[in-house]
Amino acid sequence: MMDYAARVAQADTYPKMLRLNAKEHGNEIALREKDLGLWRPFTWNDYQTRVRDFALGLIELGLGRGDVIGIIGDNRPDWVAAEVATHAIGGLSLGLYRDVLDEEASYLLNYGEAQLVFAEDEEQVDKLLALAERVPRLKHIIYSDPRGMRKYDDPRLMSAEKFAELGRARATREPNLYDKLVDATKGQDVAILCTTSGTTSHPKLAMLAAGRVLSHCATYLAFDPKGPDDEYVSVLPLPWIMEQVYVLGKGLLCRMKINFVEEPDTMMNDLREIAPTFVLFAPRVWESIAADVRAKVMDATPFKQRLFDIGMKSGLGALDQGKRSGLANAILFRALRDRLGFTRLRSAATGGAALGPDTFKFFQAMGVPLRTLYGQTELLGAYTLHPAGKVDPDTTGVPMADSVEIRIDNADVHGVGEIVVRHPNMFLGYYKNPEASVADIRDGWMLSGDAGYFNANRQLVVIDRIKDLAETARGERFSPQFIENKLKFSPYIAEAVVLGAGRDALAAMICIRYSIISKWAEKNRLSFTTYSDLASRPEVYKLLQREVETVNATLPPAQRISRFLLLYKELDADDGELTRTRKVRRGVINEKYAGIIDAIYRGAADIPVDTVIRFQDGTTQRVRTTLHVVDLGGRGPIAEAAE
């Protein structure tokens, strides 16, 4: 394997690395873009020429060291070239998400004092022109796609071709200028401004040094090797840190080929044509791929459905024993991998949120080497990953190298606390915001704001944002949402509320998923009348108890659910019990169900309920039922009281 750290020592900025690649591998393919239905290759020489023209074009327009240059649009070769060109003149690249809102775009462009923006097409140009006086410093807009641009006569607009022409002319006049510029770039200088996800206020801009990104990529590559034979399809947003790491950092360092899809909605098709060796998708993308497969199987012939069932059963059975099933591969998985474009996949990742265990197993059985990664923008994206062969869907893996140090601060008795990290390549602080930098960095350690712990195998488990944690009366921290999400991965559970803040132990109020459980009941010849009736059946309780016990098995003892009941109605946003995005409103629920919650913690086995449900159409219904509380044993006063 290549010594990537040594290569970074040789060329510690993007333009230097690009020049080195062009010199050594000029005619090899660096990038591909699908255009007019065909994959068009860009060699390292083409890449280098485009970057040179752009860089000298920037110089011609009077830009230089320290200037911030914005880039907005779909993932395209010009996007990447614009970033490397910005670095070549000593500028700072600022990627904007393609669906950024006006307000945020103007905030970021003003904050960075950007004078020039690379905008892909009419859509993005429209957006920038609409900002008008709100971005007074913006002097140039370079667009790559001329379609629809005829109607504008704004003096700030220039086509990428004309802009590159400017650079080419300068290169003819001063053939050595570009090399001099590249020689002057320094790896430790800030080169990238990366927006951090601001959930409440304006996003902050993390200052990243290109040399550090490359070094971090070298660390990453040592843990998860890639090389020139690898194919990557770039579909994640380029302003996002992980895509920066893959497309620019790793792309330049290990020369894996980067492929740009034709349009976002042709992604699955283009993915299949390329058959990448590595993919990173958000959990919901993996979920939707799995759901698509299941939906398509339902439309297939009975014979194919039968094959699918046999294949899945045999595949999952083999997976449980840590093996692969040859039969399943022959009748199902080989074809499935081909359909999804996963035939050449050597490495696959997910991150950002939890992925359901069933989906995880589905892909693992298929032979997709799925792993979870975890990281933050400030720490250059991922820094923990599952080691090959030690994949545990409940964790986010281990630090990629010894140089990545992870500490758990303010841990409770069970080791749950804030994840605090440092590594030699982390960010240099927030741009023009030293207060925020001081708040988030202590003695060189970055406070992630996430809560987590190390499990028995020394793998990191990330639970939730630290501010969303609750604490039991014994001072044990837990994340209600984390456990609720785990419960909701069960097809039988629609909603769940985990209780326990200020109490002795954890309990759950669960809403059954009526559509699925009613089918299940029909199949099992169980008669029922209404939701409330179904939710009070002992058979249903038994079914749900198994689901809760499965979840409990994945949790440390202190976070296990010791009692649960099935609610007589579904939680509803119209009743104020959920937000419109279906998040549990704990305050409302604690108040509304105070009687029931008290009864659970009193240790009652049955709780009589007599209440009125108001439906959306205004009608009301009186509900009289008895809720059973299932005690799962465990520990603490609840168990004692129940005895």
């Binding site: 007019l36 065909l38 005829r150 349009e263 909605d265 042709t266």
Partner: protein
């Protein structure tokens, strides 16, 4: 500006039904011209006369100064006239790509026999050139994701777009769009309006459009003609047409009584009936 199409005193009768009565108008090169009117006003009839499906009972049609009244429908694409249909007319079992390729048919030099000798007769090279043109249209209309899908499986809005693509593949100088936005949701309409404008501005095609959505018509048309019961009742720029009292009465209804000239108001007994 040169005249693209001139319609001179065209009447069309089906037995006793007078579909069109003495309709005359002229469309300039590069114009986006809309024809509006209530149901049964004769909009599609006039478009069918232009495209050659109907032969006018009286009157003449001139395209680029040439009399095309008696030309067969299949002779017109060669002159540069293309059209789409109000009710979709795609080949449902063919792919989107093949449907659009059909639009290139009159531009192909190879025929059934020479085409079978693929390499020898240059059919291969010819197909590649045409495929490129088709891909440009696919790119223009954002049809990439359905390029290889069977036309019949697509949503209505997409099929409308494929039909437009096929008409564009003819490389017409004058394109007739018969209700391109009918049955579409707001978003699809917005997209289609953008394509029509780009068609006109980027590709320089003269566009004749029949459309019911007044918002779209008034927003994007250069000039509008209004038909009612087969007669032309108004013609001019959108704002002027919108303000025309005849148009209000015939087409837009009379919600705003105050704006209607008392002389133009219908007789009392009629409104009582």
């Amino acid at each position: 500006m040169a005249t693209s199409l001139e319609v001179r005193g065209v009447s069309l009768r089906f037995g006793g039904v007078r579909a069109l009565t003495d309709v005359s108008f002229a469309i300039n090169d590069g114009e986006l011209f809309s024809i509006i009117g209530p149901n049964g006003a004769g909009k599609t009839s006039i478009v069918n006369c232009i495209s050659g499906r109907y032969k006018p009972t009286e009157g003449q049609l001139f395209y680029q100064g040439r009399d095309i009244t008696g030309l067969t429908p299949n002779a017109r694409p060669k002159l540069g006239i293309g059209r789409t249909f109000q009710n979709l007319a795609l080949f449902h079992h063919m792919s989107v790509l093949d449907n659009i390729m059909v639009g290139r048919h009159h531009l192909l030099k190879n025929n059934f026999l020479t085409g079978s000798l693929y390499w020898l007769t240059g059919a291969r090279k010819e197909e590649l050139e045409h495929r490129r043109k088709v891909e440009e249209i696919i790119d223009f209309l954002d049809l990439q994701s359905v390029r290889k899908a069977t036309a019949g499986t697509l949503s209505y809005g997409l099929r409308k777009r494929v039909e437009l693509a096929r008409a564009m593949a003819l490389e017409p100088r004058l394109i007739l769009l018969d209700e391109p936005m009918a049955g579409m949701n707001f978003e699809e309409k917005e997209d289609m309006a953008r394509y029509v404008v780009d068609l006109n501005e980027e590709f320089g095609m003269t566009v004749v459009m029949i459309e019911h959505d007044m918002g779209v018509v008034m927003d994007i048309s250069h000039r509008v003609m209004v038909l009612d019961f087969g007669r032309k009742i108004a013609e001019g720029d959108p704002a002027a047409v919108l303000a025309d009292p005849h148009v209000k009465r015939a087409y837009l209804g009379e919600e705003d009584e105050a704006l209607v000239d008392p002389d133009d108001a219908p007789p009392a007994q009629e409104s009582a009936a």
